[in-house]
Symmetry: C2
Subunit: 314 residues, 2 copies
């Protein structure tokens, strides 16, 4: 596939077009993924997630700069619709991102307008594959981390950074509770603010409670780092923690088990959509409309209708 | 099905058990939904969604009280994991909910721990059906409204209330932008705070931009209400707006088109899962593990593997 060869050879326009192709799905996307898939598997995929107001986007920007300063390349996939990378912020701080523009070692892609949910996870996974095949060393996937979809996407990363900040409201605090479970690296951003030390202490207590058991002494204990994304304080230490987690994954064999789990999850999602498509192509729109009308009229319930359509018996 | 008969006859313990049964899914859930489905279709399903920090849960509580005061019954399904209804809040303001306890005209159900995403939407839809069949006049579905999943669940309501509040951060503001599109009724809560008038004006501008076109003079224009959930100010007006929207749905025929769209969406989701289950039962776990290993080794890509497993040709 010529587009794939061009993109893999470093043609940025081809890369952008290839990303659009795989994001749109369909046969074209499948052919492209088939062509680029053998080239994937080297990138370190890093999810960055946090509740609104934690300064996540600014930190992603700083991380990208630090990765570049270490002479490694970086792709950014912004899934958060409120991210300035996605152009979704009302008060555009996209300005901040300008210092990354024009650098061939950086590629930023927004997934803001990917429509339906299942589609978003698939499109994000395929966009990451494209950037992986194109040779980017690290791929940062930014998600807002509220809602199960974002958590799922964040978990589709080798390393998940969860960002907190002092002084957010109680509801935001509660939102974050679910995120702690998926964190490999914890960050208290805005660490120059009142309450940062308290936030770190609270996180330490949570981590201690779920600390490695004696029978599993080699397990990873998520470090808690403090950053001030606005001036870059603590960002080198954060990058070091991310590198340390990658070394841990390699040494423990978890890099490989991650790959298996990730492939299984993608295969299930693909099977789910493909088998539905097959059923729908057999039934046809008129017959489907009939079924919908009968269910709406309470003549039959949705499960019984689905069983008849699939031709399944229990 | 005896459990269904008991729950529909007003047995609260049976109702709780029936809710657990349908939430857990599987054959038992399908049998229960089949038995109760003919009794559904009367309840007014009202989604209540808003970004963290808007005071959403407190407002849901006040709305439930106001509905009871009007001598109608109310079910609450809390999907938000940070909701005090779900017991998920770190600082438990569950205390506030106690004034609803012990009233047979109220039933509160938390969906906090429903696991995977597709499962959550299905479980929520089925829980709403149970409360609908059990005769609750209004069913409030509370979601955090961040992330596509929550938006999808909020849209599975006849009437969607979107809650805003003055003085939240920019990122939270941006999050809310996507919610405006699905709002039937807009609420600026914490209306006693500085900035409430500005928030209302900002919302009015957004609404004006997407105002009904001349060729569609009968379209619904989302009203913007101001509330102070802590003391209940504005809650009667909010309830009146919800009733007005229901009258609009009835008069315009949109109640029926909503039902058709909802059934279609549920049927698709059910077909997707059922057709996957059929494929998996045919392939078996050993063969699936082989496929996963081959994809992980980059011998074949995920789409090609899925096509072979489904037995589909392109």
């Amino acid at each position: 596939m010529e587009l794939v060869s061009q993109a893999l050879a470093g043609d940025r326009l081809a890369l952008a077009r290839l990303l659009s192709l795989v994001e749109n799905g369909g046969d074209g996307a499948q052919d492209a993924v088939a062509a680029l898939y053998p080239h994937t598997g080297s990138a370190h995929i890093v999810g960055v997630t946090g509740a609104p107001g934690t300064g996540k986007s600014t930190l992603v920007n700083q991380l990208a700069r630090a990765i570049r300063a270490a002479d490694t390349t970086v792709g950014v996939v912004a899934v958060d619709p409120s991210s300035p990378f996605s152009g979704g912020a009302l008060l555009g701080d996209r300005v901040r991102m300008r210092d990354l523009a024009g650098d061939a070692g950086v590629f930023i892609r927004s997934m803001a307008s990917r429509g339906c949910l299942g589609g978003l996870a698939r499109a994000t996974g395929d966009a990451v594959k494209v950037l992986d095949a194109a040779g980017f060393d690290v791929i940062l996937v930014e998600t807002v981390g509220a809602g199960q979809a974002e958590v799922d996407i964040a978990q589709a990363a080798h390393t998940t950074i969860v960002i907190e900040a002092p002084g957010l409201g109680d509801e935001v605090q509660a939102l974050k509770a679910g995120l702690l479970e998926i964190a490999d690296v914890l960050v208290v951003n805005k660490a120059d603010r009142l309450g940062a030390a308290n936030a770190v202490r609270a996180l330490e207590m949570v981590i201690d409670r779920s600390a490695p058991q004696p029978e599993e002494p080699s397990a990873w204990r998520p470090p808690i780092l403090q950053t001030v994304a606005l001036d870059g304080s603590g960002v080198p230490e954060l990058l070091a923690a991310v590198a340390e987690h990658r070394a841990y994954l390699d040494a423990s064999g978890k890099w490989d088990s991650w790959t298996l789990a990730r492939v299984e999850s993608e295969l299930m999602d693909t099977l789910r959509q493909m088998s539905l498509d097959r059923v729908l192509s057999r039934v046809g729109p008129d017959q489907m409309a009939d079924w919908v009308a009968r269910v709406a009229a309470r003549e039959v319930d949705v499960y019984a209708a689905a069983r008849e359509i699939v031709g399944a018996s229990r």
